[in-house]
Symmetry: C2
């Protein structure tokens, strides 16, 4: 095959960077660390948004919109939160004015320093809880179940398209509850929704679990995450849901009167997924030929390429294909008929492989005679010639089969890369050779976690939910442990 | 009636401000000039987005995403553009870093001044044309038809919820074309789409026209707009579409090789509508009781309030209503059955009037006996008792009738408020008494327009498309004129 991309085996990181750009998903912009999401990449993100948004609404959430800018002082109201976020922000210090009067005829300086500096939101807990203060007085006002689709900004020195960018797009849910139990239920419900989305739509198996203390969200009592495994053996945290306790309610003085007439602080959660999911989707399935997209998230699910020598032949093929296009569209299958004559079929084949279109159909003169059509699967790179009759049903089934196959493959890879290990030397060696998740005992201390991270670059990705309880000894210190946790190198 | 809001007659501006807050549409935030769009308001905006987005896609446009931050120098590349926008920006001057090393072990200042200041986008022509430079080499790369849904920021001293806020949400289309004709066609096509959306969905009649030179977008050769009339006789510009010529292509050096193999600059358009449409929608139809929403954009189209004294009665009503709920949902009609017992029916009636739910149904004991139900229309505030049989068809028809009636009313008001006037004293008097659009002759000079604005606060809203050509004399200077233009005071 002609080499389209650096091979994964040669340099996984270069393969990823090239793929994102060559498949027209995103590119770097003139502003350091900020990306341009190109139409093809954005179309995938839109599909993700639509599905997630429907899932949020089915579980009673509503969308709202809160300000981009946050007074700097808000950040420091919650002690852990400021620690986590105050140091990676873009700061707005000045504004300029067109009409330099304040409406009462007082002329002000047209370029002026703000009285209080504003930061571009890195996450919106603070501005939202400052707003909730006015929305919530009684248990009758609860729960508040808001979600926001927005851009956020976290200043980063080292950025990578989708995976780590200064500006990124995400959704952030922020809910307020009358009881601890209800907030805990919400936290788990949302990580469940993320897991369902990852597995059923992205065809990406994930492990749900709880974060260790040092990996928790800044201001949370508990952070749940879904962890996926990429093809280079590194884990990628793909979504998080936080139980915030009463921390933000206390920081912003949000109290309510409960059913018994007593005042209490409101219980909170927040949860989010971002355009980072695009990076996960790309890395989970794609190969050296380009993108491999699960049919459910592919902007174009089927492409049809006519092979013709002249207009007469094209007409004959089009006549056969047109009813198929209509039928596919009626079934909600997105299809593109590429009859352009400025590009050769071979060029088109390579292009659609690069772009990850799940099914490619090709029809030429011989197919016309024989009543057949060639069907190529992007995931397996296999081709077969099938009868034209019954084609629509065939395609519909094949799309489902591809969706399942991609998931099965990713799951097999993931399952093959969860290794139980009890010896620290083996642990270190496995990280360098096989990678993946290492299931090992840990003594539960921050110090041990920190030391392992320093020595191996592996972190505790999560303590899986419904984890098996077993006696063991910490892989580093030999101290007693009651369960294994999952370590991995991570994005 | 109990007074819910300041009456429009008393103080139109206070009425609007109160309505936006009391109907749970939006509120001011802790950050000057930035609003919180509350779930109910955002649900209307989402409906608008969905419809517009579909219209854009049907006409071949794709969504993409470009950076929030723009290097300050970009703005000044296009001479008119910098004049229009450089003076109402939020400026990012500093950033802070969490990991204060640059990846090669060099420790940098954790709070640092940016080498080049960045502004938060007030509009994205500059960053987008800087990107298009890399996307476009040949006529084969054209047209580029991108749209972006985004937040933008224009620093304002005097803000009003939805109508004028420092941060607002919008869509901005940015297209690139091989020929002038194609770009001009696109400009007009998009203003047509906006007009169709305003009239068919918002039930708000608009006049399409071209802006005079001084009201043009900064950097455009021609600006088209749709102009609507509010109930206080002031005009509201509701959407604009700009023919940008080759200005931005020249500023960012975007050239292409045309079919004849010659190099030329690319032709551009841009077009946008914003959350300002929410303000237009609210003001166009609402009354002293609250919001009036056209059914096509109402998040809840039908609300059903059971009138019951005990659980037995509620059960009997629910049994009758449940199949209706299913049938309505199947037809895509959004319905809410409010059987809560913490609020009285009278309270609910007032609340749903305030929120502008188009149809309210009420069913009590007597209705159960008689096989009837009470139907209340929000737009006319009329009620009637109708047979329960055939209710779903009745509602479906009524929703259409309400949509038409709201449009007819707004159109009648608008048409009654377009006045031809040939005398400047009368012109001034009409502006103070009747308001609305004044159709008057104008000598075509910026000076005259400016003088009229200073003396009367009226501006030229537009020169209507397909304007009747007639000889006349400028209303201010008496100089010859070939057509009337529309003046009005405006938001």
């Amino acid at each position: 095959m002609a080499k389209v991309l650096t091979f994964r085996e040669e340099n996984y990181s270069a393969w990823y960077n090239e793929l994102v750009v060559k498949a027209d998903l995103a590119e770097n912009s003139a502003v350091r660390g900020c990306m341009v999401i190109k139409p093809y990449g954005y179309a995938i993100w839109e599909k993700m948004q639509r599905v997630l948004d429907d899932m949020f609404k089915e579980t009673g959430h509503q969308n709202a919109y809160f300000p981009l800018l946050i007074p700097k002082s808000f950040l420091s109201r919650e002690a852990d939160h400021v620690e986590g976020f105050a140091k990676e922000c873009a700061v707005v210090t000045h504004y300029r004015l067109k009409n330099a009067d304040d409406g009462r005829g007082v002329v002000v300086d047209p370029e002026a320093k703000l009285e209080e500096e504003l930061i571009i939101r890195p996450t919106s807990e603070t501005i939202i809880w400052n707003t909730y203060k006015n929305w919530i007085q009684s248990y009758r006002d609860l729960p508040v179940l808001c979600n926001q689709w927005a851009n956020v900004m976290r200043w980063e020195m080292r950025t990578r398209l989708f995976l780590r960018t200064a500006e990124f797009l995400w959704q952030e849910g922020h809910t307020a509850h009358a009881t601890k139990e209800e907030a805990e239920y919400e936290t788990k419900q949302m990580i469940d929704i993320y897991a369902k989305f990852a597995e059923e739509w992205m065809a990406m198996p994930v492990i749900q679990g709880v974060k260790s203390e040092s990996e928790r969200f800044a201001g949370a009592l508990d952070t749940y995450s879904i962890e996926a495994l990429m093809q280079d053996g590194k884990a990628l945290q793909s979504g998080t849901s936080h139980f915030l306790g009463q921390n933000f309610a206390k920081a912003f003085d949000v109290k309510f009167t409960n059913k018994e007439g007593k005042e209490d602080y409101v219980w909170a959660t927040s949860w989010g997924v971002s355009t980072r999911l695009m990076g996960a989707l790309i890395m989970a399935h794609s190969d050296d030929h380009g993108l491999v997209l699960p049919p459910k998230l592919a902007p174009i699910q089927v492409v049809i390429v006519p092979i013709f020598r002249n207009n007469e032949q094209l007409s004959a093929i089009s006549e056969k294909i047109n009813p198929i296009l209509d039928e596919l569209k009626t079934k909600g299958i997105s299809v593109k008929f590429d009859d352009s004559d400025t590009k050769k079929p071979g060029w088109k084949f390579a292009e659609y492989e690069l772009k990850g279109i799940p099914i490619r159909l090709a029809m030429g003169g011989r197919d016309l005679e024989n009543g057949t059509i060639e069907v190529a699967r992007r995931d397996t790179l296999t081709k077969e010639t099938v009868p034209f009759d019954g084609l629509v049903d065939y395609i519909e089934n094949l799309l489902e089969e591809i969706q399942s196959a991609i998931f099965r493959n990713a799951k097999k890879y993931r399952d093959d890369h969860i290794t139980e290990v009890d010896d620290y030397e083996e642990f270190k060696e496995l990280l360098e050779t096989k990678g993946g998740f290492l299931s090992a005992h840990w003594d539960g201390t921050v110090e041990t976690e920190q030391k392992i991270k320093e020595e191996t670059k592996a972190t505790i990705r999560c303590i899986p939910l419904d984890n098996k309880q077993e006696e063991g000894k910490c892989i580093l210190t030999g101290k007693p442990s009651k369960q294994r946790v999952l370590f991995a190198k991570a994005y």
